[in-house]
């Protein structure tokens, strides 16, 4: 089976600034992979390119065997239904309740009747471990951790095959972050998801991640299981892992 994500020779330039200088890696299906790198290493930019929001200067990006930047709009939108994206602060629609937010993908992309959608929505809300009364609240009434869970419920609504996460634990306290990590791992295993997380959270890396891809100076400097990445001799990686040694 083709890998979930394949990035080949991606070059990104903003004017004279080179962000990616030939980046390439693959994410096999069913794995939880972290994309790490220092601030400004272009990991969020790369994520935006992978999910089809920003066109790289050159290079090829494949999701589930389809080239993101060579396919048409309809094909891209069909592809988008097969992955979910969790934005950094959730990006929930502030004019809707949590339940209505989760219902949006069902309303837009399925032909299910309202009385089928309603229980499905509540099952999604329960699935991400939100308390029963959360569905009726607006995003502004939720804490950061609950907002992330609600956004996760929306991202998982259409039973995606890949889940993209942008800094999944940022803005959460250590306890909340650890709970969220555990939830991600349980969901990834239970639902057979492929997960690609952009992060700089070392705790996340050592707890739930199978493989890591390390981005520095516009290149992939290491790729592989976390322990192998840890052993790579590179100044940035040395100082990154230093505090956990």
């Amino acid at each position: 089976m083709e890998p979930a994500v394949r990035v080949q020779d991606v070059v990104t330039r903003f004017g004279a600034q080179v962000v990616h200088d030939g980046v390439g890696f693959t994410v096999p299906r069913g794995e939880v992979v972290a994309l790490i790198g220092g601030s400004g290493s272009g990991k969020s930019v790369l994520l935006r390119e992978i999910i089809g929001l920003l066109r790289p200067t050159s290079g090829r990006i494949e999701l589930l065997g389809t080239s993101v930047w060579d396919c048409g709009v309809d094909e891209l939108n069909a592809l988008r239904r097969r992955f979910g994206m969790l934005f950094q602060d959730g990006a929930l629609f502030s004019s809707l309740t949590v339940a209505q937010n989760v219902a949006v993908p069902f309303r837009e992309h399925t032909t299910l009747a309202a009385d089928v959608i309603t229980p499905l929505v509540s099952s999604k809300i329960a699935l991400v471990g939100l308390p029963p009364d959360a569905g009726a609240k607006t995003p502004a009434q939720l804490s950061g951790g609950m907002r992330k869970r609600a956004a996760l419920a929306r991202a998982l609504a259409l039973e995606p095959e890949i889940l993209f996460l942008d800094e999944p634990t940022s803005g959460l306290d250590p306890v909340g972050a650890r709970e969220f990590q555990r939830l991600l791992r349980v969901l990834a295993d239970g639902l057979g998801l492929t997960v690609l997380a952009v992060t700089h959270d070392l705790d996340l890396l050592t707890s739930i991640v199978d493989r890591a891809v390390v981005l520095a100076a516009g290149k992939v400097i290491a790729e592989g299981p976390v322990d192998r990445v840890r052993a790579v001799d590179h100044p940035w990686l040395r100082s990154y892992f230093a505090r956990s040694m």
């Binding site: 339940a99 099952s123 329960a126 699935l127 029963p132 502004a140 239970g190 639902l191």
Partner: protein, 374 residues
């Protein structure tokens, strides 16, 4: 990906009921799943076993619908044992039933008519209360500033004055000039029939200076600067900058509100004067081009008709309008909470409230001035 037909069969083995699932149980053919489950009943009470041997694939939506249906048939979601499921499917089904035990409140933001009338009334009262209390707060801070002039933020006030007044002059002149032309034209056509076209000058001078210029300038300022105040302060509120100001030991009212209030209070009378001139100039143009009134004759008429009191009415009303606009705009900016939508809603509300208040105040002024013979 292929979709194979969904089917559910039931057979009794010994004392247990075995439910055999076959086909693709996924969100995309959920209607088939629901149809298959619709006619399904449990033949008898007792132990239930789910057999996933013939299952192509299953996702959470289908698993949830299945377990929910079984629950309705009297078989608790946790109860059915599973067999012949692939590891992956078994984990998924387990996950779904662990989590689905808690029913979720759904809620909607949609309310009945009566509720909304009530909520609107309460909101209106709250709005009035907050407006009065904000006015009090600003007054206290203003008095504090008078006692300690060091609190006055000259640079911020000047910067606000520039955006509110200087930058607005072109549009104020344009709008008033055009209205001057329009009014002179309409007035002139009528007056000409009575051979009284010269009095267009009187009409233009009085109308522009007493009513049109103050109103037009206020509406422009409400739309331009009022909206900007609310959006600026509101965004700062969302970004917690207002809290940062308070944490630094400064008063948000001193830093954000008073400079805007003073700048607008000074700017609006000046804009009204600019509007007066532009409006009369517009009338003069029509007079010269269409009604045969030479510009110097037109200006003589304006001098004769426009007593000082008429002229002072506009700049006299303007600071009051300005105070209302600045107060409403700054208050609604500080009342923004939480999210981006709140900024938009309050900005809209600012423009509407400011414009309505300008007209209400203008009507009040008209009555008072008429009584006082001004």
């Amino acid at each position: 990906m292929q979709t194979t037909a969904v089917a559910i069969h039931c057979q009794v083995e010994d004392a247990t009921t075995v439910i055999r699932l076959t086909g693709t149980w996924r969100l995309r053919n959920l209607p088939d799943v629901i149809a298959a489950l619709g006619g399904f009943t449990l033949p008898r009470a007792g132990e239930v076993v789910l057999d996933g041997g013939g299952l192509e694939s299953i996702d959470t939506a289908a698993a949830f619908v299945l377990l929910e249906r079984l629950a309705k048939l009297g078989c608790a979601a946790a109860a059915p044992a599973t067999r012949h499921f692939s590891d992956k499917h078994a984990r998924l089904v387990d996950l779904v039933r662990q989590r689905m035990c808690t029913p979720t409140a759904l809620g909607s933001l949609h309310r009945g008519v009566l509720y909304r009338i009530g909520a609107a009334s309460v909101a209106l009262l709250g709005e009035l209360r907050r407006a009065v209390s904000f006015m009090g707060l600003v007054t206290i801070e203003l008095l504090r500033m008078l006692r300690r002039p060091a609190l006055f933020r000259a640079r911020e006030t000047a910067a606000q004055f520039e955006t509110v007044c200087i930058d607005a002059i072109p549009i104020v002149i344009l709008v008033n000039f055009l209205i001057g032309i329009v009014v002179a034209y309409v007035l002139g056509m009528e007056a000409q029939r009575y051979g009284a076209s010269l009095f267009v000058a009187d009409g233009i001078a009085l109308a522009m200076c007493r009513e049109l210029s103050p109103i037009l300038c206020s509406v422009l300022v409400a739309g331009r600067s009022g909206a900007a105040f609310t959006a600026e302060i509101g965004t700062m509120k969302v970004e917690e900058e207002v809290d940062a100001i308070a944490t630094l030991g400064l008063s948000p009212v001193q830093v954000l509100v008073i400079p805007r209030l003073l700048a607008l209070g000074l700017a609006l009378p000046l804009l009204v004067l600019a509007g007066d001139i532009a409006g009369v100039a517009g009338g003069m143009l029509v007079g010269a081009a269409k009604l045969g009134i030479a510009p110097n004759v037109f200006l003589d008429r304006v001098h004769a008709a426009l007593e000082l009191r008429h002229f002072l009415v506009g700049p006299g009303k303007a600071p009051v309008f300005a105070m209302f606009i600045a107060m409403i705009a700054c208050r609604l900016g500080l009342e923004v909470k939480g999210d981006a939508r709140s900024v938009g809603r309050n900005t809209t509300s600012t423009v509407v409230q400011c414009i309505v208040w300008v007209f209400v105040l203008d009507a009040a002024f008209a009555v008072v001035f008429q009584r006082l013979d001004i």
